[in-house]
């Protein structure tokens, strides 16, 4: 298969001794006649940042959704820490995989702190009766939840902003809050869907720092991004998808220098998809700027 390029071997060798967290094997996703993801293999090890790139319509988000249980792959399997997870978003979160959304999906009318506290939902256990009776155990758990949420807000650089409603936060903070919320689920793997979309260079730099900080704390991270500079600064490894297929997988430097990637982004003259071609062109420029 196309992923069996020599580059893979070299990256694998770099991760000897590291635990394999996520392993997708020949994942295929069909919608009717359309093959959105075609036979993709993908591996993530603990403590690494992997980038997922590709022109619009390449199937990045669909692949993401397959990984996070929003879609059940038509064929192939996704193993997380060696286990095949049931295709339910909830079980995926409980297993230790958390995500953010391309178009921010916070709980707009909850405060920032509450948003993060919702993230703790799957790591806490108080049920209806305990919540009504409020014994010492409940109080301890609630206190711990709040403390953790405050801590996470500090961690992503939103100290003291917990009282604001999510909908009224500046754009950059909303992105950060989404990450804090995802971190609240105690993930082993964090999947970020275009974390810097729409950000200015300064905000992008801050996001970059945040992501490094998270990686240094031992989490594995998968990032979808169009901003090439961002991706190549950040990622240990990069997977490039084109029309649902793996074009290349390798270190940032390898992918960056691969002519096929540039071709995929800027489009070859015989490109059959006008719309995506032109979109990609502008984005490619932005990325290279």
């Amino acid at each position: 298969m196309s992923s069996q390029t020599p580059t893979v071997a070299s990256t694998e060798s770099r991760h000897v001794g590291k635990e394999e967290i996520l392993a997708a094997r020949s994942v295929t996703m069909r919608f009717g006649g359309l093959v959105a993801v075609d036979n993709v293999d993908f591996t993530v090890h603990s403590g690494e940042i992997v980038g997922l790139i590709g022109p619009n319509g390449a199937g990045k988000t669909t692949f993401f959704n397959c990984l996070t249980g929003l879609y059940k792959p038509t064929s192939g399997e996704v193993r997380f820490s060696g286990q095949v997870l049931p295709p339910k978003p909830r079980s995926v979160v409980v297993a230790g995989m958390a995500r953010t959304f391309q178009n921010i999906r916070l709980f707009p009318n909850m405060t920032a702190l509450e948003n993060v506290m919702v993230g703790r939902y799957c790591r806490t256990s108080a049920m209806a009766l305990t919540s009504i009776l409020r014994g010492p155990k409940y109080r301890r758990e609630e206190e711990a939840t709040r403390a953790r949420a405050v801590e996470l807000l500090d961690y992503v650089g939103m100290k003291g902003q917990g009282g604001h409603l999510a909908r009224n936060l500046p754009y950059g903070d909303q992105r950060r809050l989404e990450i804090a919320r995802a971190l609240a689920t105690d993930p082993k793997l964090l999947l970020l869907d275009e974390p810097t979309a729409g950000m200015n260079p300064q905000e992008t730099r801050q996001a970059e720092e945040l992501i490094f900080k998270i990686r240094d704390s031992g989490l594995a991270i998968v990032v979808i991004e169009h901003d090439m500079r961002f991706i190549f600064n950040l990622c240990d490894r990069v997977l490039c998808l084109v029309r649902g297929k793996t074009l290349i997988e390798g270190t940032a430097a390898e992918v960056q220098s691969d002519p096929r990637v540039i071709e995929a982004y800027i489009g070859s003259p015989d490109s059959d998809d006008e719309a995506s071609g032109s979109d990609v062109a502008t984005e490619g420029e932005a990325g290279n700027a």
Partner: protein
């Protein structure tokens, strides 16, 4: 709201001082008019035909007038605050109050109050000629006050909640306020005359508007937050005292008991609609299921189930039966949401009603005698306490409905406890998250389906409890009591009062049940008004009378000034009001 601005800011700037004088004079004029006769004849309202002896309503009017004068005049008194002494220190506090805003609110409220009184006099005695000169003086005063207050510039926003006050003062204020509320409510309820009742409502409305706009509301709610237990306890204490104000009459207690049953059901509905954001148009079925369960297990000769356990057990079973129905009705939520869910619940409600009328022996098993239902349900007897008897406490006889009122009060306390504690817990956050964005909630590991079912089952359980008591209060249960319109009424109580709050729903339920009882002359038009009210509320104040602040933001997100104002008020973690 697109009300054209007649009073422009420029106009206000120019006529600020005359406006203040006019408001002051109007208030004093009104206060003075209370000593003049307002009505030609004593039959209207509470007899306003006397010179020199104000009736209660006139006295209340005078009180509002004085309040207007004081509030309008405060701007001139305040400069003295720079001196020393105890009085100037009080004035320092007054600087934090929004007197001008209060004056404006009171100007409107006062005009409304006088208008209601005069219209009631004219209607009850037949024509405007029956209004005596005092009435016209009062109207002139109110108009003067209104125009004057409109001409004032809005002035500063109140910040009374930042005033540091000793704890005893706060506690005493809460208690006094609730006692005043009790007395006002008791007084209003004892009026059988629709005009008087409406006038008192107008008075309360004007007073509350004033208190809120002045900023005392902020202070009170801050005080209430600090002494939440005192607030909750004294609210229930005051409600507990209510039957003792009735001199042994059961007439109002009958209504009050029904208000409580209705409100308890509405609070249950509020879990489903207000917190979890699932619209349920068949909610009355749960109340019905509870009532039918209790009826079939009661001591009534018409009861169809031979097993007659003690009432506590019956109540639990009724709750569980309702909760089971809730689970069934909630199960489509796995696949259905939004408007479709509303329609599914509506259909379930209709299925419940039709099925009950069919369980009569000819179209189904004879479980509830079909449309005739189960009558002659005896009174409860709990631990030797006979609910049907009159019990005399401290020399005040407490009738049958008072007994049930106390029982419902206990159940209400339980329901409020359940509602608020769930709301401020992991579960409550999960519900709100589902309401806000179901997909995101699921992706964050919230057990969406489980929580939705819990909302349905929990709300239904509470309604089932209320239903079990209702069967005994009404002493008969028929399917006709549980029609779609009742579900719409419940929803209206939630919507009018304020989604997601307990206080709002209590207020909404009380108004919806009380107004038709007290305003007999609108009876024929009550459904018309009710329908119109629902439309207008959605248009102009969709967050309800006592809104959950979250909702205010949801509905008025484009009003930036308001958003900022509210955000400032928000506590660190959105501790919701009650």
């Amino acid at each position: 709201m697109n009300v054209p601005t007649i009073v422009t800011p420029e106009l206000q700037k120019r006529f600020h001082v005359p406006g203040r004088i006019a408001a002051l004079a109007g208030g004093l004029l009104l206060a003075a008019s209370a000593y003049l006769p307002w009505a030609y004849d004593g039959d209207a309202l509470d007899n306003m035909a006397f010179l020199g002896g104000p009736s209660t309503l006139q006295f209340l009017g005078a009180l509002l007038g004085l309040l207007l004068a004081v509030s309008a005049g405060m701007a001139w008194v305040e400069p003295w605050a720079d001196r020393k002494g105890i009085l100037p220190r009080l004035l320092m506090v007054s600087r934090r109050a929004g007197w001008t805003r209060g004056t404006k609110a009171l100007g409107v409220g006062l005009l409304g109050f006088i208008a209601v009184v005069l219209i009631a006099i004219a209607l009850e005695l037949g024509g405007l000629v029956t209004i005596e000169y005092g009435g016209w003086v009062a109207l002139a005063g109110a108009l003067l006050g209104f125009v004057g207050s409109r001409l004032l510039t809005p002035g500063r926003a109140p910040s009374l909640e930042k005033v540091k006050t000793p704890a005893w003062l706060e506690i005493v204020s809460i208690a006094v306020l609730l006692l005043v509320a009790l007395l006002l409510a008791a007084y209003a309820l004892n009026q059988n005359d629709g005009g008087t009742f409406l006038s008192i409502l107008a008075f309360i409305g004007a007073l509350v508007a004033f208190i809120l706009r002045v900023g005392a509301g902020g202070w009170l709610s801050a005080a209430g937050q600090r002494h939440r237990n005192v607030l909750v306890f004294s609210s229930f204490a005051v409600a507990f005292l209510f039957p003792f104000t009735q001199n042994g009459s059961d007439a109002n207690m009958s209504i009050a008991t029904q208000v409580l049953i209705f409100a308890a059901t509405a609070v249950g509905l509020n879990i489903v609609v207000g917190l979890a954001g699932l619209l349920d148009l068949g909610y009355i079925a749960f109340l019905g299921a509870g009532a039918f369960t209790a009826a079939t297990m009661s001591q009534s000769a018409f009861a169809t189930i031979g097993w007659k356990p003690p009432f506590i057990v019956v109540m639990l079973i009724a709750g569980l039966v309702s909760a089971t129905l809730g689970l069934i009705i909630g199960s489509p939520t796995l696949r259905v949401s939004g408007d479709y869910l509303a329609i599914v619940t509506l259909a379930f409600g209709e299925i419940f009603r039709i099925s009950m009328s069919n369980l009569d022996g000819s179209d189904g098993p004879d479980l509830v005698h079909g449309s005739s239902g189960i009558p002659a349900i005896p009174n409860l007897n709990l631990f030797g306490f006979d609910f049907g008897k009159v019990h005399t406490v401290l020399g005040i006889p407490l009738g049958r409905f008072s007994n049930y009122f106390f029982l419902m009060l206990l159940i209400m306390a339980l329901i409020v406890l359940v509602f608020t504690r769930l709301n401020h817990s992991r579960i409550g956050r999960g519900w709100v998250a589902i309401r806000e964005d179901e997909k995101a909630a699921e992706a964050m590991g919230v057990n969406v389906f489980g929580l939705k079912l819990l909302a349905f089952a929990g709300g239904a359980f509470l309604a089932g409890l209320a239903g079990a008591v209702k069967a005994h209060v009404d002493q008969s249960v028929t399917p006709d009591q549980y029609i779609f319109l009742e579900s719409a009424f419940l929803l209206a109580a939630v919507v009018l009062g304020g989604m997601g709050t307990v206080m709002g729903v209590l207020l909404g339920a009380a108004l919806l049940k009380l107004v038709p009882e007290k305003l007999r002359f609108v009876n024929e038009y009550r459904m018309l008004i009710f329908g119109l009210l629902m439309v207008l509320m959605m248009r102009f104040r969709p967050e309800g009378m006592i809104p959950n602040q979250r909702r205010v933001l949801e509905f008025h997100s484009d009003d930036e000034e308001l958003v900022e104002e509210i955000e400032e008020d928000l506590p660190y973690e959105f501790a919701e009001e009650h």
